[in-house]
Amino acid sequence: MSIISISNLNKSYASGLAALLDINLEIEQGEIFALLGPNGAGKTTLINIICGIVTPTSGRVLAAGHDVTRDYRHARAKIGLVPQELTTDSFETVWATTTFSRGLFGRPPNPAHIDKVLRDLSLWDKRHDKIRTLSGGMKRRVLIAKALAHEPQILFLDEPTAGVDVELRRDMWAMVRELRKSGVTIILTTHYIEEAEEMADRIGVINHGSLILVEDKARLMKKLGKKQVSLHLAEPLATLPEALRPWALELKAQGKELTLTCDAERPTATYDLLRRLNELSIVYTEINTHQSSLEDIFVGLVSTRS
C-alpha cells in the first residue's frame, strides 16, 4: 500500500526556474526510500511540497491517503520532517522545544513519549540544556527528536547526517532501522551514497527536477552494478588472443592487466576464463575483484543524463 502517492507534480518558481518536472512516485508503507541527486536537483523542493512548506504549481500529493493541500490537517499530522539546515530555537531547552513540537502538531502532552524519544536519541542528559550550548551533532539529534515528538507515520530526513561524525552517523542509521521496525516509513535524501546503500530498500534518483529512476536497491545494484575481475599477467600480451574473444575482456597497463567485466547472465564466466587461460598457458600472478558501488551507479546515471 502506498503511503505517499505523487502524481504529475510540477513546481516552477516566479523566477522561471522549473524545480520539478512531472514527478510521479509511489512510496510504500514501512519502506526506507532514499532520494539521491546532485545539489539543486529538486530533492528538498519535493520534500518541502509534501510537507506543506512549498506550494506546488500543479499535480497532486497524497500522504496516508490525504491530499497534502486540501486535507493538510490530516496529512501533516502523519508527517515528521528533519530539515537539512540546523534550524533550532537557540534559547530553548531540549525538553521545551520537543514538547512544543508535539503540541504544535496537535497532540496532547505525553511526557513519557518525550522521555522515550530523548533517551533513544541519547539526549536525556541534555534535556535541560539550552540548544545553543549543544554541538552540531547534538542539534541534529534535537531536530530528529522534534520530528518524532508527535509520533509520525512518515519521517522525512533531509540530509540527516550532513556534518555528523562517523559514530553519530552509525547511531542514526541504527535509529532509522528501529523506526522502520515500528512501522514508520522513512524517506531520506543524502549525499552519502554509502548511507543509501546501507539503509535504503528503494532508491530514487532525481536530476534537473526529473525523477530519472526509481528502483529496488538490490535490483539496481544487480542491473547497473558492474563486477570486474582483474588479472595481473606474468608476461604482457601484445594483443588479445582470438581464443579469449568470447569474454568481455579489456587489455590494460601495456598488456600486463586483463580485465573481465562480469555479466549476471553468465555466472561461471570467471571460472571458464581462468580455465581457458590455463589451457593457453597464460600465467597470472594476481587476481583482484571490484564491485561498483551505488556511488559509481549514481555518478554514471547523473552524468549520462545531464
Binding site: Y13, C51, G52, I53, V54, T55, Y72, R73, H74, A75, R76, A77, I79, L81, P83, E85, T87, T88, D89, S90, F91, A96, T99, F100, S101, R102, G103, L104, F105, G106, R107, P108, P109, K146, E151, P152, Q153, G183
Partner: protein, 260 residues
C-alpha cells in the same frame, strides 16, 4: 500511532501561546520593567513636574489627562514589537519550517501569536494603569468599555505587528514602522493634549490621524471627555481590526513572504 485529528488544533494554539509567553518571561526586564520605567518617567516629567503648572482639561488634571494616552502609547508599541518579533524571529532563524509543516490553520497560528502578544500588552497596560494611580488620582467612568478598548487595541496592533513581522526582510524594517511612523502619530494623536486646543487647520489635519480616534475613545472611557464622538472611535477601532484581519487572511491565502 493512529489518533483523531481535531478540527481545531487547540494543542497547537496553546503551544505557540505558551512559547511566546515564555519568551517574554525569559526577558522580563526588557518586556516588563523597561516600559513601566519609561512610562513612570513620563508621569514624573509631564504629570508631576510640568503638569502641576498646566491648566486642567475639562475638569481633569493634566497628570490624569495623559494617563490614557500613555497607556495607549505602550499598548501600540508593545503589541507591535511583541507580535512582529514573534513571527519574524522564526523567519530569521529558519525555524518557521516547523510552523509551515504543522497541521495548524492560519487562524490558529494568528490566535497563538497575536493572542500572546495582545495578552502581554494588556497585562502591561494594566500594570501601567496601576503605576499611574500611584502618581495621580484616577477615575474610570466606564470600566467595561475601557477594557473593551484595551483588548481591541491590543489585538489590532498585535495583528499589525504580525503583518509587519511577515513583511519585514531585515531588522531595520522591523523597527522602521514603530519608530518612524507609529511614535510620531501617537505623539501628534492627542496623547499629551486635547486636539481642540490646536489651530483649526492643524485640528483638521489631526483628524486624518487614526491614532486620535483610539486615544480619544480610550480617554472617554476614563473621564467621559473626548476629541471625537465615542461611536466614531469605536468604528475606527473595529475598522482597523477588520483591515488587519483581512490583510493577514490574504497573506496566508497567498503565502506572501512565507512560502515559495
Amino acid at each position: 500511532m493512529n489518533f483523531e485529528v481535531s478540527r481545531f488544533n487547540r494543542h497547537g494554539v496553546w503551544a505557540i501561546y505558551r512559547f511566546e509567553i515564555a519568551r517574554a518571561a525569559r526577558t522580563l526586564v526588557q518586556s516588563l520593567l523597561t516600559p513601566v520605567l519609561t512610562t513612570s518617567l513620563y508621569f514624573i516629567v509631564f504629570g508631576a513636574a510640568i503638569g502641576s503648572r498646566m491648566q486642567s482639561t475639562s475638569g481633569v488634571q493634566y497628570g490624569a489627562f495623559i494617563v490614557p494616552g500613555l497607556i495607549m502609547l505602550t499598548l501600540f508599541t508593545e503589541s507591535m514589537s511583541n507580535a512582529s518579533f514573534g513571527i519574524y524571529f522564526p523567519k530569521f532563524t529558519g525555524t518557521i519550517y516547523e510552523l509551515l509543516s504543522a497541521p495548524i490553520s492560519p487562524a490558529e497560528i494568528i490566535l497563538g501569536y497575536v493572542g500572546a502578544a495582545a495578552s502581554k500588552s494588556i497585562i502591561l497596560g494594566l500594570i501601567i494603569l496601576a503605576t499611574a494611580s500611584l502618581f495621580t488620582p484616577l477615575t474610570i467612568l466606564h470600566p467595561l468599555i475601557m477594557l473593551a478598548f484595551l483588548v481591541l487595541t491590543a489585538a489590532t496592533f498585535s495583528l499589525f505587528g504580525f503583518i509587519l513581522g511577515i513583511w519585514a526582510t531585515g531588522w531595520e524594517q522591523l523597527s522602521f514602522v514603530p519608530m518612524l511612523i507609529l511614535t510620531p502619530l501617537t505623539f501628534l494623536g492627542g496623547a499629551f493634549y486635547p486636539i481642540n486646543i490646536l489651530p483649526p487647520i492643524w485640528r483638521s489635519f489631526s483628524l486624518f490621524n487614526p491614532i486620535v480616534y483610539l486615544i480619544s475613545g480610550f480617554r472617554w472611557s476614563f473621564y467621559g471627555i473626548a476629541d471625537v464622538s465615542v461611536a466614531t472611535s469605536a468604528t475606527v477601532m473595529l475598522g482597523a481590526f477588520a483591515l488587519c484581519v483581512g490583510t493577514v487572511s490574504w497573506i496566508f491565502r497567498t503565502g506572501y513572504r512565507l512560502k515559495n
